[in-house]
């Protein structure tokens, strides 16, 4: 039996009185493109921070590629790539210097780090301004650079927090094709996004978190076919005959409803 690429058990994080994430049990198989969804403040970022070592869990366990994160942090970090919320860039380096630095921190030798940095800059269309500092990059360019840095060491599991936020359509296309080719080569990708269309197009599996608890998890087809009632637990949730969109699934899972009220003075 294959080990899960990402597995959490009763993962919980408390901030004083507030429980931001409670008893989350995630299972992501190797090679999956996994979307992690939730409304604002639901616990997505807290979860991804715990999964990448940026935040310590209050309780529960995290296993990445079968390794316990608490016990083997360095080994786990070597296998993963991360684009965190703040992008983790160093503004006063050039793009090439930053990528070489990241490569060497992940144990690549100087020549390999330089070669891969050059290739990634070309691929991301960032190579034509070699002397420009990262701090002078546009937001979209910084996102592309952060993603390039996250993959320079060839990670087996990639964590992306809102990777497409502020990225133009052309750059988003480049990023998507790169991520899909990584999946084709067996990598696992775990991403959070507010743009449900992107998740629906890219991800094969999703989990939805609401007020710190997982309210749905499974493949898109499973969630569509069951109308998410199996994991949402709503007795009234009807089984839909027609195909549900991810937006329908999401709204059902988080209990959201479209605003019916009209603002009469608008327009």
């Amino acid at each position: 039996m294959d080990l899960a690429a990402i597995a959490t058990e009763a993962l919980t994080r408390r901030f004083g009185e507030l429980t931001a994430v409670q008893d989350v049990n995630l299972q992501v198989a190797p090679g999956q493109f996994f979307g992690f969804l939730g409304p604002n403040g639901a616990g997505k970022s807290t979860t991804i921070k715990m999964l990448t070592g940026l935040l310590a869990p209050s309780s529960g366990t995290i296993r990445i590629l079968g390794l316990d994160f608490q016990q083997h942090p360095v080994e786990v970090k070597r296998q993963i790539g991360v684009v965190p919320e703040g992008m983790a860039l160093f503004g006063r380096l050039t793009g090439a210097e930053y990528l070489k630095f990241v490569g060497r921190m992940y144990g690549l030798d100087r020549e390999t780090a330089a070669r891969r940095a050059g290739e990634l800059l070309e691929f991301m269309q960032l190579a034509d301004q070699p002397k420009k500092l990262v701090t002078d990059y546009s937001h979209g360019m910084q996102k592309k650079l952060a993603l390039a840095a996250a993959v320079i060491h060839g990670p087996k599991v990639l964590f992306l927090d809102e990777p497409f936020e502020g990225v133009d359509a052309v750059a988003a296309g480049t990023l998507k094709s790169m991520l899909q080719s990584m999946i084709a080569r067996g990598a696992t990708i775990f991403l959070t996004s507010h743009v449900l269309e992107i998740v629906e197009r890219l991800c094969s599996h999703v989990a939805i978190i609401q007020r710190g608890r997982l309210v749905a998890q499974g493949s898109l087809d499973e969630l569509r076919s069951t109308g998410v009632e199996a994991q949402v637990g709503g007795e009234d949730a009807p089984t839909h005959v027609e195909k549900l969109t991810l937006e329908d699934i999401f709204l059902r899972a988080v209990g959201g409803a479209r605003a019916e009220q009209e603002l009469s003075w608008l327009g």
């Binding site: 703040g86 630095f101 301004q129 002078d136």
Partner: protein, 550 residues
Amino acid sequence: MAGLEASLNPRLQLAAIAHVRLQVFLHSLKTKGGVLEFASRIFVSGLLTFGGLAGAIGLGVGARAFVREGRVEWIAILLWSVFVFWLLFPIMGSVFTETLDLSDLLRFPLSYRSYYLVRLAYGAFDPSTLLGCCWLTGITLGIGLADPRLFLWAALVLLLFALLNIFIMQMVLAWVERWLAQRRTREIFSIVFFLLMISLQLLGPLAGRFGGAVGSNLKVVGHQLTPVQRASPPGLAALAISSMAEGRPLISVAALGVLLAYAVLVLLIMGRRVKAQYRGENLSEAPANTSTSAAIPVKPGWNLPFLSAPVGAQLEKELRYLGRSGPMMLTLITPVIMLAVFGLGPARNGTFLTRSPDLSYPMGAGYTLILLTNLIYNNFGSDGSGIQFYLASPVRLRSIILGKNLAHLTILLGELLVVWISVSLMFHPPTLFMTVTTLAAILFALPVNLGMGNLLSIYAPKRVDLGTFGRQRASQVTVLLSLVMQALVVGCSVITFVIAGAIGKPWLAFLVFLMLAAFALLFYRWTLVKAESLGLERRELLTAELCRVQ
């Protein structure tokens, strides 16, 4: 369109802007930082009031004396001092502090006239304006006391002079704002002003040393500049007053007319800039360089022997970072400038250093170490959100810190060499004994500071921007503890030097420093190990503080 007025009312818009500024201020008082800021403003306001009153009295007394002695035109000297202050103070403020970007208001349906008025009105409540007005009032009163017939005329002329100053300041600020909108020009501005301030410190010693020789030349230059001075706003204002005092009203009115023409011209030039903003010019942080050039093959990073890849990469990154920080580079030349300041005293009596040149090397070295305090005690401050990379990377925190500390050591060694050369050129080469004893003292002082700095960098991190001066306050805990630490280390070193000298065995100091260095290195090693666990324990605080958007 229910509820909309038929036409926009500029007065209501201006009132709304004033109201929102008040709300922002009141909300800021709800935070601890805001209250501290407010308290410091009250303190600064007290200083400004004192400066305003003292300046007004001083300038008033000066003006009264000039008028009484029949040297009314000399009022130009007083007006020049007011003029220069009025111009420089706000520009320096805009370089060292964050200023309100009024172009944010342009997204509202604000007329060009209202926008122009907001810009002018905002400048009218600037501290420099308040001080300037206070001082001009003092000069007016001084003139009035000396010659009551001149009072009204002087008041009119100086009122126009004040308005002209406000307009000039706003015009200059509008252009400065344009240049400061981009990081590179902002940094160049910071460097220029830093150099200006440092050169001002050198004026005193240079005047003391060469004052007599250049005095006669200055008089010649002064005479040649007189026509230029008369055409300047302070010169014209002084001319308008002195001509009236001398019974030449036509010249006086003409001078006032030229002053008025200046004001109109300045408003027109400012209008051009404001119009450009109003039409939608982007003054925010825009991409600095849109021209593209061919991709250059990426060269491998530095090959640093004896260091592991992560430590070497970290050392390279730190040195690149610091090398690109203009303010940091300037800070590093400060020891040489301070040596010059203390070494260039009056030729006759000399300064402490000219009388005891042997002490210049240890003093220069100690000063260098103190200058590195901000860097050493806030290791991660310039990394900002990059701290997330460290925490997510498979590199132990102690390797990252070691790389940073090696960068600090490299800088210090470079600085010690520069100070040694400077001392040799300014005084005489430090003796071998003084050199090795100083280095032994540094061998003790540096590990203690690095170790303590590593712990405080994790306990009380503070995000800083290496590209700008000002607003770079370290955390209060760090400031306090680093001061205590420096006092202990410097005190300990001085006492060792003094005792060894007093008992006639100066070489003893060298041995004592070596012994202390051994303990210091053990302490440093312990902090590296401790930093590993401490960093993981406090990773939330590190990310929260360093990723904070400023």
